[in-house]
Symmetry: C2
Subunit: 195 residues, 2 copies
């Protein structure tokens, strides 16, 4: 089946890129994990980079169903949703003994001069994440001071997460991640206290 084969390739590549990175994943690795032969992959994709594009596209369209929905299950308070999402990343971090973090962030720093379409999809993924969190802060309404820009605050939450993941992956403990998120929580608590 054609659709199935293509899907298997993308899913296999998604896992491999997250675990080993883009450059360190060979086409042979993808073929092996997908249980597919070279001819099939090159029938659906012009080359390896196009597989990456498909993976980034899947992440982009998966933000709601694959990331936000599970992270926000049962959480309705908009500000708690921000921290529920951060907690979601922490779970992923600890479940993998702090070896895997955010796959988008890893690829973004691994590729030093990505081709324009790759860079555009990386930026779109970050933008989607930020916009989702921005919406939470907007929904928080007057619980936050009116002079605090909601998008700036959402960007800050993402940099806290990405930076925390970076340090925690490096020393294989969630300590730095926890410290950063605790500080972000402290900041947002204070914003709510004296709005």
């Amino acid at each position: 089946m054609s659709a199935d084969t293509k899907e298997r390739i993308v899913f296999a590549a998604m896992g491999l890129f997250a675990r080993k990175g883009y450059a360190s994943t060979s086409v042979a690795d993808i073929l092996h994990d997908a249980g597919v032969n070279a001819g099939s992959l090159y029938h659906f994709f012009p080359g390896k980079q196009d597989v990456l594009l498909a993976v980034l596209d899947m992440y982009l369209h998966g933000i709601r169903p694959m990331l936000l929905q599970p992270a926000w299950n049962g959480v309705t308070d908009p500000i708690e949703r921000v921290f529920a999402l951060l907690e979601h990343y922490r779970d992923y971090l600890t479940r993998t003994e702090c070896t895997y973090g955010c796959p988008i962030g890893s690829i973004a720093l691994e590729l030093h001069e990505p081709d324009p379409p790759v860079r555009a999809l990386l930026a779109a993924n970050f933008d989607g994440w930020i916009s989702a969190i921005e919406t939470c802060f907007i929904e928080a309404g007057d619980r936050l001071p009116s002079d605090v820009d909601r998008r700036d605050l959402a960007t800050f939450a993402l940099t806290t997460m990405e930076g925390g993941v970076m340090l925690s992956r490096t020393d294989r403990t969630p300590v730095a991640f926890d410290r950063s998120v605790r500080m972000l929580r402290h900041y947002i608590d204070r914003l709510q206290a004296d709005r």
Copy 2:
């Protein structure tokens, strides 16, 4: 000259790893930039990874003379020193049109399963950075609330910087970096206001 050759190799590799990353830099690249032949490199280093170790070691010992000293030139206030260091990274970012960020952070995310000595040196570099900033916050004394942990705050400053660099490199503009640092500044201003 032996010492000179070894040094040229390390400096060439330092530049290349920062610009292209570790995996994408070939030994041939290093040889070319250093103006050295393969025999010389393999005379001084068992392999490519050992060149990386030497580079990370140089970064580690260069934190004060190569990073803090120039960033803090003329800045004495401990809290302003924190933001002067962040400004230093912003300068590097904008001077390179947002293509290069923190070389340690890039390598840390690029290598998914680094050998223990590499990981140890990456962690030591982050630790040295955090400790320097922690000292600033300690020197700030009672300008900051006593119940705010100085090391947590220093870790937060590093994650803000690394996350900001990641996003800014991805969309090739310092906007995200500036937003994150502005939020950190806002937080620390508030800590000082109602200590």
